[in-house]
Symmetry: C2
Subunit: 355 residues, 2 copies
């Protein structure tokens, strides 16, 4: 059997003192981000797992955190749970996982059950409750919100800049000479908050490029999955929708779009360039592979945990809005722009084709 | 705000006594499967969530269970975690989620950490440790094993019949007139236990159909994902591999296979019929959509929880091997067989084409 990795091993690898490693693992605040990263890298390399027994007795804490997400079957939330499990474990916490189903009842149950006192803190990605309802249900347990939905003003929230990311994605499509760019996959009726922010970024990019916004190019999806997106886009195309680019609300919508387009003989990216959102692993293996907005889920998980641990030490800090990064993963469905002269030609061809 | 659903509401809906609902929720053994199903259906419909506070004080139990899986980012394990979270919550347990990384160290850590005493029981899907190692690491905490890997003889294990499922999948390909059927996606070097069982079923189906086994048609994958499968199958095809059917170890391998085949202009299912394993949601939206072996994950989660709760009541029962069902989800990549005469023609065509 392999020897158990100790704090001492991690300290040696990271080139810091055992006390510093201990501080990182316990989530103390006064460690620089750079040192924390170095220690975390050593923890990852060596596979160090803190020993929990005894410590909770000494501190009066359970050393258990909860993560509540709408549905683990959605690749984005599974990825988030994976990251959060990893960072929690590395810092000596166990992770309770709750699914809310994305419903108000599910979210209420999680927040109400905080009274059970099993956990030291909760990270929740709400989708249904309003800020006022969330505020009314909070207990003393420290709480951090993920995602874009309105939070109570006293609470911490970690998210990416959805408007900027959508704007950049659409600018990428414009850089490919596309002008009739659609948005696929928001909710029927009123868009959810993430959808609304992404549509806002989409509009801003069009505006910036001098392209008129056309509400007819927004295609809502019935249901939140790829099948719903395929049906919605398929119906729109069959009814005469003409687009040369698509920003999809998420990769599930993008996978549905690829299928709807292919079944109609519409080439991607030749006729329609497609960009998804979330950069799920399988997006590298579709035909064509998916260009997608990739939130920095590792930073999201780490920052959420940092903020939660700080909140556990000191609940007087005002609520903070923390933004983590993203990048556009460029693959086949919306490739890198061509050099300027080639792009210019395509722009004209594109205008002819869809005009 | 919606009123909290009570035991009484569930009892009324299910047409049973409050005491019976309570027994189901607490996981007592002496409730018939039929009654349990009826109560569970009422719990699902009404969205009942047991109130945990206080009860753990009365029973001396934490009412927390742990589920340890290799990697939540794999759709099959995310689905399993989803199901297990649902059934645990419905019966009044919280769920601790652990990722082992599929490594011996990760599995050792989970089992070793049982001493922390946070949980009443553990369900683990091991991939790396041997039965002897698992036995050596067990504590008093009740433990149920998922999956195919060898378990200690004293332990309970829940799985599907992989040999039968693989056999049925390959029989489906044979029913489509395919004769040069490959297996894609086992591990380089020695196949893992699930791969070995699936290859055994694959061999049996061929044998039964009078088709000679050909080791050249087994294509191992480097890495466990779709990209690795695409690379492996692509290299094999480029080196001259000729197949007219493929059973893939999992849907990730199948998605990689679809891409490798398409990039080479090989039609699915026309030239090669493809069957995956796990029936992940996105398999309905690939082009073509994926035929796949679907383990009954709901039954898997429920039976694992039943067995764990029994084990918590009575640890003297000998280890049990419990098998739950599966079905073949038939979609475009390996469609339903044609009527006999058409199938006969295709069989000849198939033989000509690949011979």
């Amino acid at each position: 059997m392999v020897e158990r990795v100790t704090l001492r091993d991690v300290a040696a690898r990271a080139g810091v003192s055992v006390m510093t490693v201990s501080n990182v693992v316990r989530g103390y605040r006064h460690v620089s981000a750079r040192t924390r990263d170095r220690v975390q890298a050593a923890i990852d390399e060596l596979g160090y797992r803190p020993n929990l027994s005894g410590r909770s007795l000494a501190t009066g804490r359970s050393r258990v955190l909860a993560l509540a997400v709408p549905d683990l079957r959605r690749a984005y939330f599974a990825e988030l749970a994976h990251v959060f499990a990893r960072v929690s474990t590395a810092r000596g916490y166990r992770l309770l996982l709750e699914e809310t189903g994305g419903t108000a009842d599910g979210e209420r149950s999680v927040l109400r059950d905080l009274e059970a006192g099993i956990v030291d803190g909760v990270v929740i990605h709400p989708q249904a409750l309003t800020a006022a309802e969330l505020e009314g249900l909070r207990r003393d347990t420290p709480l951090v919100f993920l995602g874009e939905d309105p939070r109570p003003p006293t609470a911490d929230q970690v998210a990416i800049d959805n408007v900027a990311a959508a704007r950049e994605a659409v600018a990428h499509l414009i850089g490919l000479g596309r002008r009739r760019i659609g948005f696929l996959g928001h909710e029927v009726g009123a868009p959810s908050r993430p959808s609304a922010l992404r549509i806002e970024g989409y509009r801003k990019a069009l505006e910036c490029a001098g392209v008129a916004f056309d509400a007819a190019l927004l295609v809502a999806r019935r249901g939140g999955d790829a099948i719903g997106a395929e049906a919605a886009l398929g119906a729109a195309l069959d009814a005469g929708l003409a687009v040369d680019g698509l920003l999809c609300r998420d990769d599930l919508a993008a996978v549905g779009a690829l299928r709807a387009l292919r079944l109609r003989g519409i080439a991607v990216p030749g006729d329609v360039a497609v960009i998804g959102w979330d950069a799920i692993d399988l997006g590298a293996s579709t035909v064509p592979s998916l260009t997608s907005v990739a939130p920095d889920t590792r930073a999201l998980g780490e920052r959420a945990l940092d903020v939660l641990l700080e909140r556990m030490d000191d609940d007087a800090t005002p609520g903070r809005q923390i933004t983590v990064g993203y990048r556009i993963v460029v693959r086949e469905s919306a490739p890198a722009p061509l050099p300027d002269d080639r792009a210019e030609q395509l722009r004209h061809r594109g205008a002819d084709r869809v005009g």
